[in-house]
């Protein structure tokens, strides 16, 4: 039985919060982290195209370099693992063919049998201009953020999503432009400090009736 009960899921989602203070002395064990990375890599994406790259920052020097471009949020330097989600700045037929090659490598069969699927993906992506393609890729990166935060929560690992970063500076420091990538969002992971008073604050969500309608 590898599932979680609905009650336990809610317990974990209530337990999580956007961690303000990490305990800098606590590190996520490497075998746990490896599996959390695997869960991140398993994130679903549009057509399965995975238009992203994840950077896991462990270097303290690099964290210090990113800090001034992160609204000074010390979660960057105090967390155990700092993940930067980067989106691909384009999506070409070469990318699509690369994905189809991977598909046949894993599933077998002839690549030509995937031509209808190829046509659909090429049709979908070619109708978008560069700005729209980038937005599409960024949307996928946010799915990855959601999957990572929820995965961390059910494992009992703390996380803080971080939109308050300067993507252009992150891109420069990480050398992303030349890789055809751009910084989209980040997430600090580790363990809350005992002194973080936000851990005990009631979670602020609107009433369900205000944000959800059944039709």
């Amino acid at each position: 039985m590898s599932q979680l009960s609905p009650t336990d899921l809610l317990t974990q989602l209530q337990w999580r919060y956007a961690t303000k203070q990490f305990d800098a002395s606590k590190e996520i064990p490497s075998n746990t982290w490896d599996m959390l990375e695997d869960s991140l890599v398993l994130t679903p994406s549009s057509f399965g195209l995975q238009p992203w790259h994840f950077f896991v920052i462990r270097s303290q020097d690099l964290k210090e370099e990113l800090l001034p471009h992160s609204w000074g949020q010390v979660q960057v330097t105090d967390c155990s693992h700092f993940v930067v989600m980067a989106a691909k700045t384009t999506m070409t037929e070469t990318d699509i063919d690369h994905f189809l090659k991977r598909t046949t490598a894993l599933r077998g069969g002839e690549i030509d049998a995937l031509n209808p699927y190829r046509d659909m993906m090429v049709g979908f992506t070619s109708q978008m201009d560069d700005a729209a393609k980038l937005q599409w890729a960024k949307h996928q990166a946010y799915i990855a953020l959601g999957q990572l935060m929820t995965s961390a929560a059910v494992l009992g690992i703390d996380a803080c999503p971080m939109e308050g970063i300067i993507p252009a500076e992150y891109d420069r420091i990480l050398g992303l432009k030349e890789k055809g990538l751009t910084t989209t969002v980040a997430c600090a992971l580790g363990y809350r400090a005992e002194t973080d008073k936000y851990a005990a604050a009631p979670k602020v969500r609107f009433e369900k009736s205000e944000v959800l309608t059944t039709l």
Copy 2:
């Protein structure tokens, strides 16, 4: 112990797939669904502003009406619960004050004590034009999609994310424009049909080394 082990999390994320055929005769039990809704409502968002509304479509007539605007994907009509994630088309100071009121209602304290937080949110949102605000809100809706899919997976509930929908037609049918909302993405949930051959297909993801770098 309400947590999941990393191994069990991966088992569930490997078990899930973008369900192509739902068993239309199977319905998610209402108590389970209620808790899955709660997990959706708990989705983290930028500043906690929750710039979204979720529509849970149960009406078969409404599902049928949405189908032609969903690339004909029958998951819309065959699933148990069809969720449409809509983003707020704007974010005003009134919205921010409404959120701060909710914060003090849940956490106590004087609303004026939150002025520095208010200033930060007003500063952040006022520097964005309408298009940027909408993109920001859509990003949050994708976090909700990620949280919903991962939550469903750990509960053993099937899901299919759906970007292949015509937002303008959805907006028209659901009357979203006048509510200050726009359709962003959708997700069909329920139980896979035994005949769905995609359930057994190996999952296609790039090698971790191709999409993840540790620095």
